[in-house]
């Protein structure tokens, strides 16, 4: 009697387990489907948006070849280098800004500290690109919206407001014991020494997180880049470039190359992101507990 009951319970558990795994498999297939679809598209021979069968009749590498060689209208290699250049420059500035501000807010006590944090909170509540047009006119006023100055404009836009994104890294600095600073001060270290020689080496995870986050921003943004680079395709970043490939007049010929470009951009971003993920999870759970 007892054994049959145990037997039926374990059978029931096994059925549940099988059901759960089937459910997860189906769901994850649905989840992966759009990504799989992009990859499939990029190897498809048919160029346009209208397809007649789910599985491509013929696979080809031509879309990738076209993307990198047919640069008359859409100069993808150039866009890639543009984005890389802007990303590296703004990454350096942004990282410095974010770390400097969050360290000051976490460790130093000065008069504008509280007002600064309150103002940052208020500024964060305005729709992000409400000021976009105004930024464009200000940059235009400085003559930064023509020719190669667009690079400088983009770098300044991506790193200009960085001092407001201090929440995660400040939270991180808050968790480093203050006793370390005090000990350093007793030993005669200046605050600069404490910052550069003690706290920074201890904060590698947040430094890496900030660098990667800043590096990724120009690859993902298309709103600001579109407004600033305007009508000059030579200074597009990959995001706007790919976005214009899907215009009504281009989509017939460029849908498949778009997918190829998307794959090329997504691979490095995905790798960076998956690497970032552990910091991301830690940062969030830390913020909630705090």
């Amino acid at each position: 009697m007892n054994t049959t009951k145990q037997h039926s319970a374990s059978a029931k558990r096994r059925v549940t387990n099988v059901l759960v795994h089937v459910f997860l498999t189906v769901l994850s297939l649905i989840w992966i489907f759009p990504i799989f679809w992009v990859v499939l598209l990029s190897f498809r021979e048919q160029k346009g948006q209208y397809i007649t069968s789910f599985w491509p009749e013929k696979f080809t590498l031509n879309n990738y070849v076209k993307l990198f060689t047919d640069t008359a209208i859409f100069n993808f290699p150039r866009w890639f280098m543009n984005t890389l250049f802007v990303a590296i420059c703004s990454c350096v500035l942004t990282t410095f800004f974010v770390l400097a501000v969050s360290y000051c807010l976490s460790r130093l006590r000065f008069k504008i500290r509280k007002p600064y944090m309150n103002v940052a909170m208020i500024l964060g509540m305005f729709p992000g690109f409400m000021s976009m047009i105004a930024i464009y006119y200000i940059l235009k006023g400085f003559g930064l919206t023509e020719g190669p100055m667009i690079y400088l404009a983009l770098i300044m836009v991506y790193s200009g407001g960085a001092g407001l994104n201090f929440f995660i890294s400040k939270g991180f600095f808050d968790t480093i014991p203050k006793a370390l600073d005090e000990a350093a001060t007793i030993d005669g270290a200046t605050k600069w020494d404490t910052f550069s020689k003690i706290i920074m080496p201890l904060s590698k995870p947040i430094v890496v997180y900030t660098i990667l986050q800043a590096f990724m921003a120009p690859w993902l943004d298309f709103v600001f880049a579109k407004v600033i680079a305007g009508a000059d395709p030579r200074y597009y970043t990959v995001a706007i470039g790919l976005y214009t490939m899907l215009n009504k007049e281009n989509i017939m010929n460029w849908y498949a190359p778009f997918a190829a470009g998307a794959v090329c951009v997504s691979i490095p971003i995905s790798i960076l992101f998956l690497y970032l993920q552990r910091f991301y999870a830690d940062g969030l759970s830390g913020a909630v507990k705090g």
Binding site: L24, P34, I35, F129, Y137, D174, A281
Partner: protein, 462 residues
């Protein structure tokens, strides 16, 4: 109340001397500093500081005389002379005379005001610096030299060194543009008043009246778009949250194998840039897209109007947003779910509760308790969720019912703002929408931030 707060601030930072005190107790040189910046520093033999302050004052005065006063005047009037056509007898052609450009008047006015604010801060610093020098002399010390100040930047004044460039960036690329844009809400800068051809002018609160008045087309559009924005934000937040928790529970339950593989598969979608995944989704959902193709091949059904019918489109964006949002919930709740005390579940099991009862009586209440602040933050983020709507539907389906066809049935306030400013050049209306969105966000945020422990007791940790 404000006075009390001020006193507290002074008590907290005793080394910061109030400017009023410096002027009252200052000697003749300190008082002279109010007129000639740097005078006090020269008297105390701090030549370099004195020269720098003096140079700043001269620079500011020159700026104001040659430029600033005119800019402020234009800022008040926003330009008086319209660009006009004049017939040139000699060349036998019409030539345009350059009139005033209201938009530049506004911009330069704002810049002048910011320069003035910066100068006032510098002026206060000069008086303080002079008074501090005076105190040092009266105590028999040597006043601080320029070299010492530079050295202090690495120690006692390190926040000056580290914060000044980021602050400058914020003022130039966030605060100033925002003020510029907010001011536009009080003008008639729309598609009918575009400089340089035409001038625009201050109109006070008229735009707010037009947008909020539910009688006109503009008002109807605003309230309807606002309604949809709130519905969207509600579903986008709570459906993602609940389904995300359920998925996390399923992955984390004891019997599930390969937990990290499942987590990897579901979070892979975050790794793909949204402009790629959502643009592709858009083409997949079209009439001849792959979803309709599959529906036809597999079930011989359709085509479904995923994005062309208003109700369909609204449901579709909410469902697609599940695809976007659940992975984020999965990442953020996994750690917290593990913190739920196991005794609670064991007790429930002993009492014979099934999975549903445990979920609704234990898991959800616990999660809601821990994560309510974050949920409200997510809610406000969803109100401003530009990417999903813009890339997926771009507001479509369009409707004539809305103001001059500027908004579609799935447009949120932010995407409508984008279309008003970028596509239609109704800058004043865009600015009004932005300000109203801000008020909405601020109200929601005040409800939470004020009540969270981390705001009240920041020093609690460490």
């Amino acid at each position: 109340m404000a006075g009390l707060k001020r006193k507290q601030r002074i008590a907290e930072f005793p080394e910061v001397i109030p400017v009023t005190e410096a002027i009252q107790k200052g000697d003749i040189f300190t008082k002279l500093t109010c007129l000639i910046m740097g005078a006090g520093n020269f008297a105390r033999k701090q030549i370099i500081q004195g020269l720098l302050f003096l140079a700043a004052e001269i620079g500011y005065i020159c700026f104001m005389v040659f430029y600033g006063v005119g800019a402020l005047h234009d800022f008040m009037t926003l330009g008086t002379e319209t660009q006009s056509k004049v017939f040139n007898e000699a060349k036998q052609i019409y030539e345009y005379t350059t009139g005033d450009n209201s938009q530049l008047c506004l911009l330069y006015g704002v810049v002048t005001i910011f320069v003035t604010i910066g100068f006032i801060l510098l002026w206060r610093a000069a008086i303080r610096s002079s008074y501090i020098g005076q105190l040092a002399v009266s105590k028999g010390n040597t006043p601080i030299t320029f070299g010492q100040i530079l050295k202090e930047l690495k120690d006692r004044r390190m926040h000056h060194l580290l914060m000044s460039f980021p602050l400058l960036g914020i003022v130039m690329f966030t605060v100033m543009p925002l003020i510029f844009m907010i001011l536009m809400a009080f003008t008639n800068y729309d598609r009918d008043h575009l400089p340089p051809g035409k001038l625009f002018d201050w109109v006070g609160l008229e735009n707010f009246g037009r947008v909020l008045n539910a009688g006109g087309t503009l008002g109807i559009t605003f309230w309807k778009v606002l309604g949809w924005t709130l519905i969207w934000a509600f579903f986008a937040t709570f459906l993602n949250y609940i389904f995300g928790i359920i998925l996390a529970l399923i992955i984390n339950r004891d019997g599930t194998k390969c937990k990290s593989m499942w987590r990897f598969l579901f979070t892979l979608t975050i790794a793909v840039p949204q402009f790629v995944s959502l643009l592709v989704m858009n083409t997949m959902l079209q009439e001849h897209g792959v979803f309709n193709l599959m529906a036809k091949e597999l079930f011989n059904a359709g085509p479904f109007p995923f994005l062309s019918n208003a109700t369909w489109a609204r449901v579709t964006v909410i469902i697609i947003n599940l695809w976007v949002g659940i992975p984020y919930t999965l990442i953020s709740v996994t750690g917290i779910l593990k913190n739920i005390p196991a005794e609670l579940y064991e007790a429930a099991k002993v009492d014979g509760a099934n999975a549903f009862v445990t979920f609704f009586k234990i898991t959800m209440p616990y999660m809601m308790f821990v994560m309510t602040p974050q949920l409200i933050v997510t809610f406000t983020q969803n109100i401003n969720n530009f990417n999903v709507i813009f890339l997926l539907t771009n507001g479509a389906p369009a409707t004539d019912e809305y103001y001059r066809g500027t908004a579609g049935k799935t447009d949120l306030l932010v995407t409508w703002l984008y279309k008003l400013t970028i596509d239609n050049k109704d800058y004043n209306l865009g600015a009004v929408i932005g300000i109203l969105t801000f008020i909405l966000m601020a109200t929601l945020s005040l409800l939470t931030y004020r009540n969270t422990g981390s705001y009240k007791d920041e020093e609690g940790f460490s």
